[in-house]
C-alpha cells in the first residue's frame, strides 16, 4: 500500500487542455473518488497514473518515488476499466492469472492465488469460461479479481459500476467499500455518479472540464459545496436554486425570494446586501397541511409526485418558482393541490450571483 501524490499535472491533447494543473494527495489505505461529468478528464487522469498515457507536465509520486516516467509494468498499479477490458481470447482463469504470470510466479502459486480470489468474489465456478459467456456482473467481478489478485500499491477504478444494473451496483458498492476497509487498500475511484462518491469514498475531488474545483472529505464537500456547479452536480436529488435579494433591516437580515422572505438575526446569517442565489436541498423542504411555527412556511401548489421505491420526489410551484421536494416515504397525490412548504432557514446555502461562489455558510 502506498500514498499517491500528484503535483501540478497538466495534459494537453493537440490544442485541448484535458487536465489543467491537477494536484491530488491520496493517503494510504483510503478510498478517494474523482467525481465529474463525462468528458471531465477522469479517465485520462487514471490512465496517466497507471502510466499508459504520459502527462504533458507535472509529477507523480508513489510514496516518495517519482514514477512520472516509469512504464506501467514498473509501477505496480492495478486498474479496472469501465469496459472491464477482459481479454476475450483467454479464459477467466487466464485473465485473472495474467498479472501473476507477468511476475513469473510458479504455476502452483498462481493456481492457489487465483482460486483464493475467485472464492473471495464468488466466481470459482466461472474459471473455465470465456468472457463472452459471462453476464455484466460476472465480468465486473472478474475484472475486480484480476486487479486484486496482485498486491498493487494503488487500485484505480474507472467507473467500474456504470455498466451494471441498479441492483448489482448497490451490492457492488457495499462490496468495494468493505474490501477497501478490510484489506486496507488504497483506491482511486472515478465516477460521474454522486451516489458512488457519497456511498464509498473518504475523500472526493470534483473535476470539471479538466480542473479540480473542490476537494476534501466527502461529507464536507457534499454539505458545503464551494460553488453553484459543485452544488448542482454533487447533490441527490438535485438542489433547488432560487434568486434572491438581501436587505439589512436594523439588526435583521431579510432574504427576499420570489415566493417568500426569510428574516433572520444578523448573528444567524451574516451577509452583506445584494443579489444572491439560494440553494435549497430537496430534503430540507417539508410538505405541510398548515403553516408551521418553526422555520419559514409558504404556500405552494403541489403539481406532481413520483415514488422511487420507498421514497418520493414531489414538485411544487411556489409562485413562478418550481421546487423539488424529497419526501422520505411513499407520497402520492391524485391531482394538484394547495399545500404549505416549510423550510429551515439555517439549512440553506447562499451563493454570490456574479461569482457563483458560496458565501453562506462560511
Amino acid at each position: 500500500m502506498a500514498r499517491l501524490r500528484i503535483v501540478e499535472l497538466t495534459k494537453v491533447f493537440g490544442t485541448k487542455k484535458v487536465l489543467n494543473n491537477i494536484s491530488i494527495e491520496v493517503p494510504e489505505a483510503s478510498f478517494t473518488s474523482i467525481l465529474g461529468p463525462p468528458g471531465a478528464g477522469k479517465t485520462t487522469l487514471l490512465r496517466i497514473i497507471a502510466g499508459v498515457e504520459p502527462p504533458t507536465s507535472g509529477k507523480i509520486y508513489l510514496d516518495d518515488q517519482d514514477i512520472t516516467l516509469l512504464p506501467p509494468k514498473d509501477r505496480n498499479v492495478a486498474m479496472i476499466y469501465q469496459t472491464f477490458a477482459l481479454y476475450p481470447h483467454m479464459t477467466v482463469f487466464d485473465n485473472i492469472a495474467s498479472p501473476l504470470r507477468a511476475r513469473r510466479l510458479s504455476e502452483n502459486e498462481i493456481k492457489k492465488k487465483v482460486k483464493d480470489i475467485a472464492d473471495f468474489l464468488g466466481i470459482s465456478h466461472l474459471l473455465e469460461r470465456f468472457p463472452r459467456e459471462l453476464s455484466g456482473g460476472e465480468k465486473q467481478r472478474v475484472a475486480v479479481a484480476r486487479a486484486l489478485v496482485r498486491e498493487a500499491e494503488i487500485y484505480l477504478m474507472d467507473e467500474p459500476l456504470t455498466n451494471l444494473d441498479y441492483k448489482l451496483r448497490e451490492a457492488a458498492r457495499a462490496e468495494l467499500k468493505k474490501m477497501c476497509k478490510e484489506l486496507k487498500y488504497t483506491m482511486i475511484y472515478a465516477t460521474p455518479d454522486p451516489l458512488d462518491a457519497l456511498a464509498m469514498s473518504d475523500h472526493v475531488y470534483v473535476l470539471f472540464g479538466g480542473e479540480i474545483v473542490q476537494s476534501g472529505p466527502t461529507r464536507k464537500v457534499y454539505d458545503f459545496p464551494d460553488n453553484i456547479d459543485v452544488a448542482r452536480y454533487f447533490s441527490f436529488p438535485a438542489m433547488n436554486f432560487v434568486e434572491c435579494t438581501v436587505k439589512h433591516m436594523d439588526d435583521k437580515v431579510a432574504i427576499k425570494m420570489p415566493f417568500t422572505d426569510i428574516i433572520v438575526q444578523k448573528s444567524e446569517i451574516d451577509i452583506s446586501e445584494g443579489e444572491y442565489i439560494v440553494g435549497i436541498r430537496p430534503h430540507e423542504l417539508k410538505i405541510m397541511e398548515k403553516p408551521s411555527i418553526s422555520g419559514v412556511s409558504f404556500k405552494a401548489r403541489l403539481r406532481l409526485t413520483y415514488v422511487i421505491g420507498s421514497e418520493s420526489i414531489a414538485y411544487a410551484d411556489a409562485g413562478e418558482t418550481s421546487l423539488a421536494i424529497h419526501v422520505p416515504f411513499i407520497y402520492k397525490i391524485a391531482e394538484p393541490k394547495e399545500v404549505f412548504i416549510n423550510l429551515d432557514p439555517m439549512k440553506i446555502l447562499i451563493f454570490d450571483k456574479e461569482k457563483r461562489k458560496r458565501v453562506w455558510p462560511r
Binding site: 499508459v52 469496459t83 498479472p99
Partner: protein, 274 residues
Amino acid sequence: MVKKTTILAVVAFIILGIWTFFPLYYAFITAFKSRIEITYWPPTFIPKEFTVHYWIIVWFDRPTLAYYRNTVIASVLSVIISLAFGIPTAYTCARFNFRNRADVLFTILTFRFLPPAAVVIPLYIFMREARLLDTPIGLAFIYGAINLPIVVWVLRSYIIDIPPELEESYMIDGYSRFRAFTDITLPLIKPGLIAVSLLILALSWGEFLFAAVLTTSPMGKTLPVGISEYMGGEWGYEWNKIMAATFYGILPLIIIFLAIRKHLARGLTFGIVR
C-alpha cells in the same frame, strides 16, 4: 405458400450460379476433349471422345513442376514479406498518433494506384542489378511490395476495432507494449490475418505481367506465364492443355479456400458489426 421474395432469391442464385460456374465447367470439360473436338461448332458441352491424355501430358511437355515450384515460392514468400512489413505499419498507424498520419496512409495506398506497366521496366533493371532476375525470390519481393497497401489498410481497420484498453490493461498487468501486441492484439486479429494472407496469396499466385517480364528461362517461369506458352506456339492454341494446366494451377487455392472458408467468412465480415 412460398414467398415471392424467396422465389426471386432462388432465381437470382441460379443465375449467379450459372454465371460463376459455367465457365469453370466448360474449361474443365474442354481439358477432356480431343484437339479436333475443341473446334466443333456448335460446341459440345459433354466431351464425345473422352480423354485424360492432356491431363497427363501437361506435366511432361513443359517444366510444369518447375512452374509450380516457382509459383509456390513466389506467392508464399510474398505473403510472409508483406505481413512482416505490413503488420508493424498497420499497428503503428492504428495505435499511434503522429504528425501526417493520414498522409502516410494515403501515400501507402497510392502505391496501389500505380499501373504496373509503368514500373515494370525500372523494376527489370533493378532486379537485373540485384541479380534477382529469373528467380521466384525476386518476384516475391515485388509481390510483397505491391500488396503491402492491402495488408496495411485491412489490418489497420482490424486493429482499430480492438479496444486499446485491452493492451493498456495488459501493460498495467506488468507486460511490455511488445508483449501486449503479441499476446493480445495478434491473436484477436487472427481472422483478419487469415483473410488478408489468402488474398495476397491468390493475387500473387495468378500475377502475370511482372512474372512474364522478369522471368526469361523456362525453369524460372511461374504457372500463369508457363501456361500462356501453350498459346500461339507451333501447335496454335492448345486449349485442352491450357485448361488442364490451369486446373492443376488453381487446385491448391481451391483446397485452401475450402479448408478455411469458415475463418475466411468471419474474417471478411468481422469488424463490420461490433
